[in-house]
């Protein structure tokens, strides 16, 4: 074969493109959501309570177990806000009220009756079991001045931010450094090239000029063997890509739409450990898993109107999360200040993510209750998703593969015992796969 010039510049381009590709693959790796910092139990809250004697600490405990269901310190809940109530009311009256408020109201005490009426005649539980010392402890706790949020927050926020930012920053730094190195390399190459040419000129060496070598493409075009090989390669490669492109049409893997309320599975199912079926309760018993109606959200959110500081991440601030809970309140028509429903509701238009074509039948209870398959097998590590996305391709091949590989749950399944036994005998196996049960028959999934 004839040797052609310019090998160097080609290999250089190759190296460069490799480097560029590498940087790109790095970016895409870096874009994988960094594992969010697990929300540690609020150190801020502990710090906020100044050590004002053992009384208030004991009182806090009593308050949290007995009263917090209906009272908050600074906001109206089922009952009024309790901060500073000891200075509003007489001590003796408070003892009587807390021991048994209904009795006090019945006795016609003017303050009590008025209070009762102001709070929509909601009944406060009687606490005859609390001693006067206990009540003093509680009142000590409610009399504590409000902790200056300004003092605690920036410290906690900043440290949390710095901690979790660490990873993002270092990733960005590495990328930036790589880019700088690349640039420097290019500049250096240019410079070295110039210097070399100059030196060569100075020494009187004739630098090989353009005309001397044949242009690369001409050399290439003359070599028919190379042309043949290259065109076959090109054809194969483009065939591969075209096939790949055509096959992914209609497959919505990784589809991740923006939802009307930024509802995070990471916070609910992950750090707070709420079971999937608490919200998607229809998955146990029906074809659909269902999106929870808003009254299920209100089981918790009547009480949880804002997130704690430790929940905020560098990407999403506390103010952002609180705003999202406000959107939920607007949709169900919940008035926070009066703790009542206004009756003005508006639907939340969740964007549907998983959607099989209409000619396929898929049933959740068959897989979740009968087969005992975990949600995560099909939906991925949902408890880590800040934004919900489609994990599986939901293609026919995906369903069929799993039916070939997964055994049916035979124990505790009396209804099917007989057919299980017969089929096991027929195939001569102990464990039946879903496919052997008939999970590959077209009519099971297409109707």
């Amino acid at each position: 074969m004839k040797k052609v010039g310019n090998h160097h510049s080609i290999s250089r381009i190759c190296v460069f493109s490799l480097a560029i590709l590498l940087t790109f693959s790095l970016t895409s790796i870096a874009q994988n959501p960094a594992p969010a910092p697990a929300s540690t139990t609020a150190p801020a809250a502990d710090a906020a309570a100044p050590a004002a004697g053992g009384d208030a600490a004991k009182g806090k405990e009593l308050f949290n177990t007995n009263c917090a269901a209906c009272h908050k310190l600074d906001a109206k809940s089922t009952g009024p806000a309790l901060r500073g109530v000891a200075s509003r009311r007489d001590k003796a009256w408070l003892y009587k009220w807390i021991h048994n408020s209904s009795e006090l109201i019945k006795s016609g005490d003017a303050t009590a009756v008025k209070l009762f009426a102001e709070n929509n005649n909601a009944v406060m539980t009687a606490f005859p079991q609390l001693s006067e010392a206990d009540i003093d402890n509680i009142l000590a706790y409610t009399s504590e001045p409000k902790a200056e949020p300004a003092k605690v927050l920036p410290a906690a926020g900043a440290s949390a931010g710095a901690e979790s930012n660490g990873e993002g920053v270092s990733n960005n730094l590495i990328l930036f450094a790589l880019a700088v190195v690349m640039l420097m390399l290019v500049v250096m190459l240019v410079l070295v090239n110039r210097v070399l040419t100059k030196i060569a000129k100075a020494n009187g060496v004739e630098v090989s000029t353009k005309e001397a070598s044949m242009p690369i493409w001409k050399a290439f075009a003359r070599n028919q063997f190379l042309v043949l090989v290259a065109s076959i390669f090109l054809l194969l490669a483009s065939g591969y890509y075209v096939y790949g492109y055509l096959m992914q049409i209609g497959v919505d893997q990784d589809y991740e739409p923006i939802q009307p309320i930024h509802y995070s599975h990471r916070i609910h199912a992950g750090s707070n450990g709420i079971d999937c079926k608490y919200c998607h309760s229809a998955a146990r018993v029906s074809k659909n898993a269902g999106i929870p109606s808003l009254n299920i959200c209100m089981n918790c959110h009547k009480n949880i109107s804002e997130v704690s500081d430790t929940t905020a991440t560098p990407d999403h601030s506390k103010a952002f999360y609180d705003g999202e809970i406000k959107k939920l309140y607007a949709a169900v028509g919940w008035d926070q200040s009066t703790q009542k429903y206004t009756g003005k509701t508006q639907p939340v238009k969740w964007v549907r993510i998983h959607n099989l074509p209409d000619y396929v039948y898929f049933n959740h209870s068959q897989h979740v209750t009968v087969a005992g398959v975990e949600c995560q097998t099909c939906h991925g590590p949902v408890q880590t998703y800040e934004v919900m996305k489609q994990f599986a391709p939901l293609t026919m091949g995906w369903c069929i593969n799993c039916h070939r590989e997964t055994d049916v749950k035979m124990e505790g399944n009396e209804y099917y015992t007989k057919i299980h036994e017969e089929l096991s005998k027929k195939y001569g196996v102990d464990k039946l796969t879903a496919a052997q049960m008939g999970g590959l028959e077209c009519g099971k999934c297409h109707y």
């Binding site: 310019n6 160097h8 510049s9 381009i13 460069f16 560029i20 590709l21 790109f24 895409s28 139990t41 609020a42 809250a45 949290n64 177990t65 007995n66 917090a68 269901a69 209906c70 809940s77 089922t78 909601a122 009944v123 290019v186 190459l189 240019v190 090239n193 110039r194 992914q248 049409i249 209609g250 919505d252 589809y255 991740e256 739409p257 923006i258 750090s271 707070n272 450990g273 709420i274 079971d275 079926k277 608490y278 309760s281 659909n288 999106i291 109606s293 009254n295 299920i296 209100m298 089981n299 918790c300 009547k302 009480n303 949880i304 704690s308 639907p347 549907r352 074509p357 209409d358 000619y359």
Partner: protein
């Protein structure tokens, strides 16, 4: 030798195509489909919007007064008096021996354990993490199987109703399990 300027152009070209290729996939939009009219029926889908109804939704509430098959009347009203009446006299229709306690535990752990704790001591995960306070231990409350059923059905103050996640039979099962936890 290729001039330095030219190789820079080449590099720039490569960078641009790489950027173009890697940025054209947008995961916040659904993908293209071959034959959309085969995948999406003309009939209304669950939760879809529809102009056929006044409120623009396909999902409609049943007509007022509708009852479902197997509906059982629950006569105790959602008031304090109702709760006290249920506490005093409501009895479970289930035969205690035939209740599948494993199933009841499973349901309890999913729907109640998150607040009341799997042991019923009021120390569920939301409580220990300080997100939801004021959940009582069953031992501290004068509950009976009737009052538990009543509270599950209507909720109580800051506890919500579980009637739409658990059907009547399941609520009785869970109530029996709560009484078992209390007695332990």
């Amino acid at each position: 030798m290729i001039s330095p300027m030219k190789s820079i152009y080449n590099i720039a070209l490569l960078v641009c195509t790489a950027v173009l290729v890697s940025s054209c996939h947008d995961t916040s939009k659904p993908n293209y489909q071959y034959m959309p009219n085969m995948y999406e029926s003309a009939g209304y889908e669950t939760y879809s919007e529809s102009k056929a109804f006044k409120n623009g939704k396909e999902g409609q509430l049943p007509v007022e007064g509708t009852i479902n098959r197997g509906y059982e009347v629950y006569e105790y009203p959602n008031t304090t008096a109702g709760l006290e009446a249920a506490r005093a006299s409501l009895q479970s229709p289930l035969d205690p021996a035939s209740i599948d306690m494993d199933k009841a535990k499973e349901l309890y752990d999913v729907y109640c354990g998150i607040c009341h704790g799997t042991a019923g001591d009021g120390k569920g995960k939301l409580v220990t993490q300080g997100k939801f306070l004021g959940v009582p231990s069953y031992k501290d409350r004068p509950i009976t199987i009737g009052s538990v059923f009543h509270v599950e059905t209507y909720g109580l103050n800051s506890m919500g109703s579980y009637a739409n996640q658990l059907n009547t039979h399941e609520r009785w099962m869970v109530a029996a399990y709560v009484m078992k936890l209390k007695s332990e």
